[in-house]
């Protein structure tokens, strides 16, 4: 009997032994095996009587349980006692499953802990440490920023002001400003809604509409605010905006504030635009019901490129997008009579849904405007943050804008002259070494980019700044390199920007091209 028990014990133990064999190394496995076997044998010998009693008890329980259900047959199956136990177990499982799992009790931070956290917290300084390049001081002008100006008592040629038509210091503009200043004072002392609308504002809006032959115009008090107010007016969360990657910060800010879905296409690349539009319209069926916009600049401030409006309009009509166009650097400059990009490409202005422009360029004043159909303009008068919540444009600047448009209308020769100057500068800079012309040959922004970039924008900028500094010191030329704020997401190459004016003389243009060529060969080669 003992041996039988033994063998039974062994057979019980054997799975355990196998497991040991698997998990332990061979030597320890063997020792474990023998130990376990010994254990079992020892226990079997000692507890033989106990086992006997247990067996007898078990038999009795089986009989007792089976007795009442011995004759129970359910659907031809004899119900045995273990069924009861199983059902009971089932109940227990159900009860356990239906109970909530264990969660540690929530213990919110005590007042003391919060105070400790507050004491421990160390904020970053408000601004990062100042580096050497931040200390760079821009040149200070001592006279009007016309084609020639004074820096440090020296007469310099100014290529840094977007005074494309040479209207700074124009007799008529000064006259109209003076009379407006005498009549209205300087500021308007209020937003447009609250007695800040002065008759010259309305006249200026009418004049711009008439000039561009659009139904209505809205004036903004600052060029930069025009775009970042107009875009969020019409583009809301969920709308789709396809924007050029080279747009300036004002537009980028507007895009960000609109919270729309923004897709960028390659700078001034119509194939990229086409494929982007195609992808949007085919991939997402829902986009058919959304408002869709293409945002572009007429003349890109960051590169001097001109947007091919005819192509954009074709694509816009094909894919049913609306166009928002910033004409800041083309209004008064492009086209036969200075009516901007639409005239330049012979596209009717109605095809562009929203046109915005800053007046701080060719018009030689300040502020900005947005023009388009009456509903678009009317909507902005109550919804555009930069219009509703900002003081209006000082009246003398509005009256200067009216006069400037009159001057453009009456003096088409200014435009011709400016175009000649651009051509002349291009001719002069054609064979520059170390840099290349990246702008459009008709753009008033002549943009020179580095041929061999160092790879780091910061270093490029330092080099270009050095070049601009030397141009000022050695040749009395005010030229500027691109400036980059860390907020600006535009990744176009940096370079030297020359803003051509009708007021420059031919010798100025020759001088600047000679000087830049010399500096480029000295600094870059």
């Amino acid at each position: 009997k003992i041996t039988r028990e033994n063998s039974k014990a062994k057979s019980f133990a054997s799975p355990l032994l196998w497991a040991n064999d698997i998990f332990c190394s061979k030597s320890t496995g063997i020792s474990w095996n023998s130990l376990a076997a010994l254990c079992w044998i020892h226990r079997a010998k000692m507890d033989t009587n106990l086992v006997e009693m247990f067996r007898a008890g078990l038999n009795w329980v089986t009989m007792a349980l089976d007795a009442p259900s011995a004759r129970v047959v359910l659907f031809g199956v004899r119900i045995q006692w273990h069924i009861f136990v199983e059902v009971l177990l089932g109940f227990v499982i159900v009860i356990l499953l239906s109970q909530k799992s264990y969660k540690p009790p929530k213990r919110p931070l005590t007042e003391q802990e919060i105070d400790e956290l507050c004491d421990e917290w160390v904020p970053e300084p408000l601004i990062p440490p100042i580096t050497e390049d931040m200390r760079h001081e821009p040149p200070v002008l001592e006279s009007a920023a016309g084609p020639h100006t004074t820096v440090n008592g020296k007469d310099v040629v100014n290529f840094a002001s977007a005074n494309y038509l040479g209207l700074i210091g124009h007799e008529k503009l000064l006259e109209s400003c003076t009379s407006a200043l005498e009549k209205y004072g300087v500021g308007s002392c209020g937003p447009r809604g609250f007695y800040g609308t002065i008759d010259v504002h309305l006249d200026c809006e009418t004049r711009i509409s008439k000039f561009l032959s659009t139904p209505d115009t809205i004036l903004y008090s600052y060029g930069l605010s025009t775009m970042f107010s107009t875009i969020p007016c019409f583009c809301k969360k969920g709308d789709i905006i396809v924007a050029d990657e080279g747009v300036h910060w004002g537009i980028q800010n507007g895009l960000q504030l609109s919270r729309s879905t923004i897709v960028y296409f390659k700078h001034n690349d119509m194939d990229s635009l086409r494929s982007t539009l195609e992808k949007i319209m085919t991939k997402n069926k829902r986009s058919k019901n959304l408002r869709r916009y293409i945002v572009a600049e007429a003349v890109y401030q960051n590169s001097g490129q001109i947007a091919p409006l005819d192509e954009i309009v074709k694509l816009k009509e094909k894919y049913k997008f609306r166009v928002i166009l910033d004409e800041s650097n083309s209004f008064g400059v492009l086209g036969r009579s200075g009516r901007g990009l639409a005239e330049h490409h012979g596209v009717p202005i109605e095809k562009i849904d929203v046109v915005t422009a800053a007046m701080g360029h060719a018009l030689a004043t300040e502020g900005g405007f947005c023009t388009g159909n009456a509903r678009i303009i009317d909507y902005q008068r109550l919804s555009s943050s930069g219009y509703v919540f900002s003081a209006s444009l000082p009246p003398y600047l509005a009256s200067a804008a009216i006069t400037a448009i009159d001057v453009i209308d009456q003096n088409p020769e200014l435009l011709v002259k400016m175009k000649q100057h651009i051509a002349l500068l291009w001719k002069g800079l054609k064979d520059i070494k170390g840099m290349s012309l990246a702008s459009d040959p008709e753009s008033p922004i002549v943009f020179l980019k580095l041929e061999n970039s160092s790879g780091s924008t910061k270093e490029d900028l330092l080099l270009l700044e050095k070049m601009a500094d030397r141009a000022l010191k050695e040749d009395s030329l005010l030229v500027v390199s691109s400036k980059k704020s860390f907020l600006d997401k535009c990744r176009l190459p940096v370079g030297i920007k020359l803003l051509v004016s009708a007021g420059h003389s031919e010798s100025d243009l020759v001088k600047v091209s000679e000087s830049l060529k010399r500096l480029a060969s000295e600094l870059l080669l």
Partner: protein
């Protein structure tokens, strides 16, 4: 916190409900007409969704004549308001050549620099002749006129304005701003709105926290949104709630990651333009100091208007400007010009000049406007050789306190604090907005009425802005007219005698 009587709240809701119902009805009938006419914009989603400009079409257009009233004179104490007429039920308004001379209670012309000034205007015209109207260039390129650099140089040195021959102008500029606003340096931009919306993103970004007063100006909201930082709001002008929010946020850290915040900026305004309330700056500053948050103070309405020498809310409440990290203000109001400034530590300004988009990309402030600011500040500080500035400051305080006291005596519900030149009168009901404005205009008093979206829908109000250029007779006339209009429209929510305690009981509270 504005409390609104139950009955008024119910009637206001009812009025808006009615307007809304009629508007919807008209929209549906419009739908039928539009369906008949051909639509050439097939395939485009509408540029203004119906519900987006519903308010404009159906509510605002009806009372359009109360807003955007054009004037044909300087925004002085009296203005010429151009008469307008409409042929299409107020949908479009046409100008006539006629105008009426009205008392101006609407412009932010606090110190009376909005019109021709014997000291400022000749200097402005002189600088216009020398520098022309615009530089057509950003500040860093070629927009750096001596005028701007000298802006604050002239403020205290009281030497006559000589644009050439001065050296190290920037150092002097910084030195002088230090003396005027009480900070070591300053940067000037061409627009107040852009100052806020372009500078906040430079100061703070992702991982930062902006705690903003619930009634802060849109430009601050724009700036905060543009920055990418997390935004939390504290109850309007309640330092205790600010403390609670600060504690909670510092303990909790950034959402989801629970990392500690990089930095916290608390943004408040000096005078809230729609409430006329003066910021509780001393308490707010001490809370911020305790929790190591930076204070950003927008003094758009308070700079020049309050304080013994017009230095704004810090001077009025005795707060050391060293405790306010960033001081912002505009020149459109008290100085009668345009543009805005940021004043702060030398390093802060240097950093902003290197990174702020409004400095790098936008046209610099127009030179004559800059000259106007210089001259105005000189007058305020008495450096023009007269005491006009001190008189102006005394006058605006006197005028404001007189006008406020009188209005309160009449039983109007006037918001705001003493000394503040802005005083809103609560109207509540939408119908009272045009009624009050038209009644006043009929009696040649031009007031501003404000409704949604500048205020919450329920809390429409009229706003009076007092100027130093108002004479006592002007104010008495204005009070007469306002009282009459108030009786007619029933906006004297308090009894004429100053017994207010009983009234407070049956009011519901509204944020």
């Amino acid at each position: 916190m504005i409390t609104i009587p139950y009955l008024t709240a119910v009637s206001t809701y009812f009025s808006y409900g009615l307007l809304f119902a009629f508007g919807q009805l008209r929209d549906y009938s419009r739908l039928i007409f539009d369906w008949c006419s051909t639509n050439n914009l097939h395939g485009y989603a509408p540029i203004c969704l119906a519900h987006e400009d519903f308010y404009i079409r159906r509510l605002y257009h009806r009372i359009q004549d109360c807003f955007n009233r054009p004037i044909s004179s300087a925004p002085d104490s009296w203005v010429d308001v151009i008469e307008r007429y409409s042929n299409d039920n107020n949908k479009t308004l046409k100008r006539t050549t006629k105008s009426t001379r009205c008392l101006n209670l609407g412009s932010y012309n606090y110190l009376g620099f909005g019109s021709f000034d014997e000291y400022c205007t000749p200097r402005v015209i002189e600088s216009l002749k020398k520098f022309s109207a615009s530089t057509c260039s950003s500040r860093v390129d070629a927009g750096q006129d001596r005028t701007i650099s000298l802006l604050c140089f002239c403020i205290l040195t009281s030497v006559s304005f000589l644009p050439s021959g001065t050296t190290s102008v920037h150092a002097e500029l910084e030195e002088c701003v230090a003396k005027y606003v009480g900070k070591p340096a300053a940067i000037v931009t061409g627009m107040g709105f852009a100052t806020n919306s372009a500078i906040i993103p430079v100061l703070i970004g992702k991982g930062g926290l902006i705690i903003s007063d619930s009634l802060n100006h849109t430009s601050i909201v724009n700036g905060a949104r543009g920055s990418g930082a997390t935004i939390r709001v504290f109850q309007h002008n309640t330092p205790a709630h600010l403390e609670r929010v600060l504690k909670e946020q510092i303990a909790e850290g950034q959402p989801r990651t629970h990392r500690p915040w990089k930095k916290i900026i608390v943004v408040v305004e000096g005078i809230y333009s729609m409430e006329g309330e003066i910021c509780q700056l001393p308490e707010i500053v001490s809370v911020c100091k305790k929790y190591k948050a930076y204070v950003y103070l927008d003094e758009a309405h308070s700079i020049g208007a309050i304080g013994k020498t017009g230095r704004g809310v810090c001077e009025l409440l005795g707060v050391d400007t060293a405790d306010v990290d960033i001081m912002m203000g505009t020149f459109t109001k008290s100085f009668g010009s345009c543009g805005g400034y940021i004043a702060g530590s030398k390093e802060l300004i240097q950093y902003l000049k290197y990174h702020c988009p409004a400095h790098l990309y936008a046209t610099s402030i127009s030179t004559p406007s800059a000259q106007q600011i210089i001259s105005a500040i000189k007058v305020i500080l008495g450096e023009d050789g007269s005491n006009r500035g001190a008189q102006k400051l005394a006058r605006i305080r006197e005028n404001s306190n007189f006008f406020r006291a009188e209005l309160q005596k009449m039983g109007f519900e006037v918001l705001g604090d003493n000394d503040s030149p802005v005083m809103p009168i609560m109207l509540y009901n939408p119908a009272k907005i045009p009624a009050f404005s038209r009644e006043c205009l009929r009696e040649n008093v031009a007031v501003v009425v404000v409704g949604f979206p500048a205020t919450p829908l329920l809390l429409a109000r009229a706003r009076i802005c007092i100027s130093a250029s108002h004479s006592r007779e002007d104010l008495i006339k204005a009070l007469k007219v306002i009282s009459k209009a108030g009786d007619l429209t029933g906006i004297k929510y308090f009894p004429a005698a100053p017994k207010k305690q009983e009234e407070e009981k049956d009011r519901i509270k509204l944020d």
